[in-house]
Symmetry: C2
Subunit: 311 residues, 2 copies
């Protein structure tokens, strides 16, 4: 079934030990959409400026992404400038030009209202809540957030959390949101805030899913740990988390029923799409991966983590 | 087959958010021996002081550990004082009293010389090399080290590394030893220094094994990632790494041949024994775990990481 994603479609200027790019297509909704597009139909809601050209839109439409929800506004698109050094575990933000994003008021096109899977990418929780409210019959809601919203927009974020099936955040965000340093206690506390399940991303170490009894009525599965692929060359980590989310949610939405086994495979597909994303700058790799490559890498993730699969 | 371990048998004074203990039995060789004792015979070489009483030795002999290699010296045993706070990822060392360890000159009892599996726990690489030299017919050598030896005893450490089949270190040590921030490049560089395989411990995220072509002649398996168990209560992380090493190497030594599949299961048993170790202060938990508990936890590690095993 189709996914509706609301978030940023932006331009990124990025410097890593492997080089630099200026104003390449980026943004959470872009990375998410491209990754998810290999699994299911994707509809995107975002605002872009006059610098967003038909060639940029073509990157999304070439992957079958429905861009009717892309709103054009006078001015420039959201622009992020960042740099990575050393182990590239964290980006150093050098500039955040919100531009047209500052007055973004997401509107759901009529053709999108019946979308069953909603993804609230990392944007102002007030906007996330507004989108959620306009889709009363949605089947599943998954979302992301970040330290800035956790710290300074807690009340708005609390409203969004109450409506979430699955929250995807990283270790630091889980600690900050819960106030707990222990990862299991942090997960419990976060799920008490609303999410039925929590996926915590660990960067180069993979991700862990935690489940409340509300996720699969009747029982709460054990946590599940999906590996990340040890990569000799990480060219640009930008969008890795959003690509993980796209692979994860895209696979979930593509399946007739979300079972624990489907959820676990979705975690692996998340890691797979994240591992492709970082091999090139910007969206380059996720524009052109093949289904054969995805399945081969899924098998590789299995081989490096399963006792009996490898030779 | 039996394992000979050389390392510290010591007393630890530890403070964690769960309480404090004074002068409890500790040391790398102690944690390693107890963990490995569930899988195979263990012989230990260390030096202790006059404060090491028959009750302390009984902790080891009760697990069948051969303590004939425990040398008594006048004075006090090695004593470490440390504290953990917050997420307890790293110990803050408050005191290191080497005491009798300062003049430790390991001697191999005649009854130990034919031991086929040697573990060089984290001690001065000059001592590690001396022990290695006294056991010319050993079948497999596995070792540990730490930042202090990497930084200030590089030449001595280089001698030890050349003789190792498997080196077990953590992420920070792998970066420091290799000078590489990327984990895959770091592993390659470390294996060029001698070890045929490298196990990098990631604390709460598990561990990754990397293999050179020399480990299993004819081919180099992919890296393998073993999970750690998400624990709601980590009472005392002291000795977790040594317990991992004990479970890992104990299982390896217990098997007739070390194949890639055996190596992978050994990684899981390492995680299993590490997960027990941190549940109580000092050696308390590893003194009294049962084989049924070990097998149940192995199954749990499998369940939280394998796509098809869980319900």
């Amino acid at each position: 079934m189709a996914i509706l994603v609301v978030g940023s479609v932006a331009f990124d200027s990025i410097e890593t030990p492997f080089g630099r790019v200026d104003h390449c297509l980026g943004g959470a909704a872009t990375h998410f959409s491209l990754a998810a597009s290999y699994f299911t139909d994707v509809r995107v809601i975002a605002v872009v400026g006059e610098d967003f050209l038909p060639t940029h839109e073509a990157v999304m439409t070439a992957r079958g992404i429905d861009t009717r929800g892309l709103e054009r506004a006078p001015g420039l698109s959201f622009h992020w400038t960042g740099a990575y050094a050393g182990a590239m575990a964290e980006a150093r933000t050098l500039g955040t030009d919100l531009n047209v994003f500052e007055k973004f008021d997401p509107k759901i096109p009529a053709a999108y209202v019946d979308t069953e899977y909603l993804f609230l990418a990392n944007i102002d929780p007030a906007l996330q809540a507004r989108v959620r409210k306009q889709m009363p019959s949605v089947k599943m809601v998954c979302g992301d957030t970040m330290n800035y919203w956790i710290k300074d927009h807690a009340a708005n974020l609390a409203v969004v959390l109450r409506e979430l099936d699955v929250l995807l955040i990283n270790d630091g965000e889980a600690r900050m949101l819960s106030g707990e340093t222990n990862p299991v206690l942090a997960a419990r506390r976060v799920m008490e805030m609303g999410p039925k399940a929590l996926v915590v991303k660990h960067g180069e170490y993979g991700a862990t899913a935690y489940f409340s009894e509300r996720m699969f009525p009747g029982f709460a599965p054990r946590p599940f740990r999906a590996p990340a692929l040890p990569l000799a060359e990480v060219v640009d980590p930008t969008g890795a988390g959003d690509s993980f989310a796209g692979g994860f949610y895209g696979y979930l939405a593509s399946q007739p029923v979300v079972t624990p086994a489907v959820f676990r495979r979705a975690m692996f597909y998340g890691g797979v799409m994240g591992s492709f994303a970082v091999e090139r700058f910007g969206t380059e790799r996720l524009q052109a991966v093949t289904w054969e490559e995805i399945e081969a890498r899924f098998a590789l993730f299995r081989e490096i983590s399963h006792l009996d699969d490898a030779v």
